[in-house]
Amino acid sequence: MIKIPPYLKKGDMIGITCPAGYMIAAKAQACIKTLQSWGFEVMVGKTLGSRSKNYFSATDEDRRDELQAMLDDKNIHAILCGRGGYGVGRIIDQLDFTKFKKNPKWIIGFSDITVLHAHLFTKIKTASLHAPMASAFKTGQDEFILSWKNAITGKKARYSCAGHPFNKTGTATAELVGGNLSLLAHLTGTPSDINTKNKILFIEDIGEQIYNTDRMLYQLKRSGKLDKLAGLIVGRFTDVQDTERPFGKTVYEVIREIITEYDYPVCFDFPVSHEKENYALKVGVNYTLKISKTKTLLTEL
């Protein structure tokens, strides 16, 4: 059974840390103000706006120690990752989830944070929140930022989006898992690898070559992650790259082809992405996915 961390109420504290790439403090200001305006306390870690001179927000040790402190601190009720980038995979095996298991809290983020979502789901059996990170708050409280607030305060989500010609219609109710495709592929074979059997899987990605996306999907397929799904949610693939000799298929065509043989429902173009349109999704929580040719509905149970 997946444990659902307690939802937040006014006065609860959200910790912000950068477990991966570097982020300047200014980029998180709108987020901090918004969280405060919603009635939450905010604690900002030193990894945000640090003096780091390289790619990472801080050394492995400092990133690990800060995340560990936030995991263990009972006064912190949720942890928002400032940004993704790359770096969680370098510290994941050094984190101690003993206290967290007794006092689970929401861990929020996406992209590189997929490592945490997968690890929490597989090893710690705790739900987490795949949702916009600090810099996404600067353009105001749109429906995606509000979905973040609703998710963290325990309001059940009900998302809908337009149909897509590639959709495979049907209905499925199951636990939701997923995240960034590159990270899901990269985690294959490691202790954080997710078992997708009877789950609804969602995927999104950014900046990948189409051939590489094809290869990653083959990896998911050949490692048994696609054949027994309850359903598949294909998010957005942003900033798609192509080779000099064109690959000849779009990413969605690549995905459609690889799932031809399966009967489960599949929707395309769902608003989960590296763009503005990125609904908060609870990894490890049950949802009903209802897909028709004209509409997709994802309802939290």
Binding site: Y55, T190, D193, Q219, R222, S223, T243, R245
Partner: protein, 339 residues
Amino acid sequence: MKRKDFLTSIIPLAASMNAVANGKAAVSPDQPTTIPPYLKKGDTVGICCPAGYITAEDIQPALLKLNEWGFNIKAGDTIGKKDFTYGGTDEERVKDFQQMLDDKTIKAILCARGGYGAVRIIDRLDFKKFKYNPKWIIGFSDATVFHSHLNQNYRIASIHSKMCNSFPSDWSKAEPMQQETIESINKCLKGEKMKYLFTPNEKNKTGLASGELVGGNLKTLESLAGSKSDIQTTDKILFVEDTGEYLYSIDRMFWNLKRSGKLEKLKGLIIGGFKIKKDDAGEEFGKTLEEIVLEKVTEYNYPVCFDFPVGHQKNNFALKCGVLHTLGIFLNECRLTEA
């Protein structure tokens, strides 16, 4: 007497049932590899495109050289075929490769080039006949799929080397290094015991080790993790190379090797050429390739070397995957020797 008959009849059955129950290939990953017969003059080499496309013209330099070495050539139907980036559709590539696997007169299959595509056809290839009549499969980069798949599932050796697109069009103008690497394919195919001396790197971890040589393109190895082509590296000497990857991505791939248990029980680690994609401005990774590798293996005692002449570069020597080698990494000398 009767009892003896009974026993001999059930042993193979039990063995095969065990293999089925494990859901694994019927070949144990612990058994020694089969070395396909080496080639002699007059033997035929098949050339085909399991991945990217190549023109008939572009394989000419390879044809000439292979002829010169005394081999006949059978160019497959996929040579000159083009389906966008691929050398023909998946079906065409499967058919061509399958024919080459099954044709007893073909003693080796040279992949015309890499690119991307082997993983799309690997599960559709039938290795039944090949298993009983193994032959050398030759290539690198995307062809790492074959090396890994054959090693893991059939325990059959293969050759990691340059492909048709790397044969110089004018041999006389090719650098000696380029000539040497191409000639190393001929030596491998004819059964010469291979020996490679290379320049020590001050970051090397010294030591002496013996084990089966496995490896290939790092990205391809990572993309096979969790699949039935995933390679087991216990007690082996692993070599890796890559091209066009960011340092962060190389770091992530080494974490995949480590976290999936592929670095822990190695006999030795060989780092070949890495063409590194420059960090984007403001996203400097801050670690060198050597640092990335060494921090993953600090707790292990096996030898580790850098700058081995294998990779997407001119000095890319032919290596026999699945064959026992000795790796000697010393301060003033580095060598890899076929046992």
